[in-house]
């Protein structure tokens, strides 16, 4: 048998394999370069970039929770100009897809970010964060309202000259409504989920652990929620879906792929195992070989649903 083909196409974005490092967990790439060969990744999403630099929230910013962690980084980042000047040149030397995650505090800001990144060769796609729960102005508000989500998408798509991925928040009643809204507004792909809003209390201090009171929950704890939302969204839109939330190994990645994700992002796992992305690529490769699957894309959305059985019968 030939070597399995792991490549995927996501609304105009071509990846050699479906494994992408998630925004905010992989810095600007260089942090992991002593440890892994970043060129082997399908792609890499940089930390969310805003127009102006941001220092972020007061510490403590991270706390461990059962099988997960809360973060309230507060979208700390060096700002668009420094990113373009200091970080991007190094990133663009890599032979992996560089995806720039952006967020704004207003519609025009989103548009301006997309406009400023226009024409820079080498950027593979934009990922629009409409879902970060840590910033009280903007962030949350956009991603939880279908109308605002659509307008942000539109603002970015109007200015962008490459694929636009919109990243959804799980903190909503029905994520399918948001997904359909951003699809209609011109998103080329959807990524989900961002973190669930959560909190931890320090009972010794009788105070929230995080300086920001609440934070975003990530890691294996949220995997079931993420998987269900990916499944729902994949069945509600025609554009490709990038799944994430608690993926630790290739088996988790397969769950997302079978539930409908065309690609996956790896976040918290990078902290636990800096080689997680590489291990997952190798795991997917080995799985396809063993199961004689020629193209990984054939597994996307491949789960078969149970018949109704005795569901909801009266006794």
């Amino acid at each position: 048998m030939n070597a399995p083909d792991l490549s995927v196409e996501l609304g105009g974005l071509f990846l050699k394999n479906p494994v992408i490092a998630a925004s905010g967990t992989f810095g600007y790439g260089e942090e992991f370069s002593p440890l892994i060969d970043i060129n082997r990744l399908g792609g890499l999403v940089v930390k969310g970039i805003s127009l102006k630099p941001r220092a972020g929230n007061s510490p403590p910013r991270v706390v461990e929770t059962p099988c997960g962690m809360l973060n309230a980084i507060g979208l700390a980042n060096i700002g668009l100009d420094a990113f373009i000047k200091d970080k991007l040149p190094k990133l663009l030397k890599l032979s992996t897809a560089i995806i720039v995650n952006i967020y704004g505090h207003s519609l025009p800001e989103y548009g301006e970010l997309a406009g400023s990144l226009k024409g820079i060769p080498g950027i593979a796609a934009l990922e629009v964060n409409i879902s970060c729960p840590n910033v009280d102005c903007g962030g949350m508000a956009f991603g939880t309202d279908p109308d605002m989500s659509a307008r942000v998408t539109d603002a970015v798509a109007a200015k962008a000259d490459r694929p636009v991925i919109v990243k959804l928040s799980p903190n909503v009643t029905d994520i399918r409504v948001i997904a359909r809204a951003v699809e209609k507004a011109g998103a080329d792909a959807i990524s989900l989920i961002n973190t669930l809003t959560g909190m931890a209390v320090d009972i010794e201090k009788r105070a929230p652990v995080l300086g920001n009171v609440s934070g975003g929950l990530s890691g294996p704890a949220i995997k079931p929620v993420a998987l269900h939302m990916v499944y729902q969204v994949a069945r509600s839109v025609r554009i490709p879906v990038i799944g994430m939330g608690g993926i630790m190994n290739y088996r988790d990645a397969l769950e997302f792929i079978m539930a409908g994700a065309s690609a996956v992002q790896i976040g918290t796992a990078n902290f636990v195992n800096p080689g997680a992305t590489i291990d997952i690529i190798e795991g997917l490769y080995g799985y396809c070989r063993e199961k004689r699957i020629g193209r990984l894309v054939d597994l996307v959305g491949s789960i078969s649903l149970p018949g109704r059985g005795k569901k909801d019968l009266m006794v």
Binding site: E31, P34, R61, P66, C67, M69, N273, P274
Partner: protein, 266 residues
Amino acid sequence: MVLHGIMDENCEVAFQREVAGGVFLLGIKSHAIAGKAAPGQFVMVRVRNSLSPLLRRPFSICGVVDGIIVLLYMVVGEGTEILSGTLPGQRISVLGPLGNGFRLPSGIKRIFLVGGGMGIAPLLFLAGRIEPGHAVFMAGYRSSEKAVPIKDLGLPCPGIQLATEDGSEGVRGLVTDLLELRIREDNIEDPVVFACGPVPMLRRVSSLCLELGIPCQISLEAHMACGLGACQGCAVPGSKDSGKVFFHVCKDGPVFDAGMISWGEL
């Protein structure tokens, strides 16, 4: 002094010994990490191969002997509890060496190493790199039970001045009192202070040194996710002078000049 060549290695435990009440000395075999480690740097240890506890735990490198990284740690929660049950021959994943490390001054100085509780760990590593007779090592503990018998650790061992809060061993009082006494009263030429320990202690040491114009490097702790400078989780507030709103302990530190930190906000 940012060092490159960080490694993630699945290392064999060489030894594990309880050296004081709930305080363990752990030896981990890694020629690669040991060969690169500098005093003040730390490692991130995955205490077991399981989803819970999820994150790695940061520990200062306390010494390096024959390709073995030595850690000194106290059991305070689930992670350290599990770690203390790891037996020689078992393997644990170790990421390091991480962080900047102490910067030893050039020229002959009078070096004060001031450690509170487990804060002695990185200072012991540093002490081994200082010519004997040039350093004074001061260690403070709550009480004698928690006092680490430094002579028995099998590491290069400085002369120690001990303070315990309850007076059960050494001088009664805080290690900062010891330092203050020595530094104010003696006529010391070119003193330099290195300190690691609980925040209140470090705050006191810093203000003392800033007041007297003594160079002072302190090693800080913060909750960490990555240890690599990627997540920005380990922020500590920078002082006005530093020109930075926040530093990141894992990358900018863990060692900082005392004047760089906004002690009031810590």
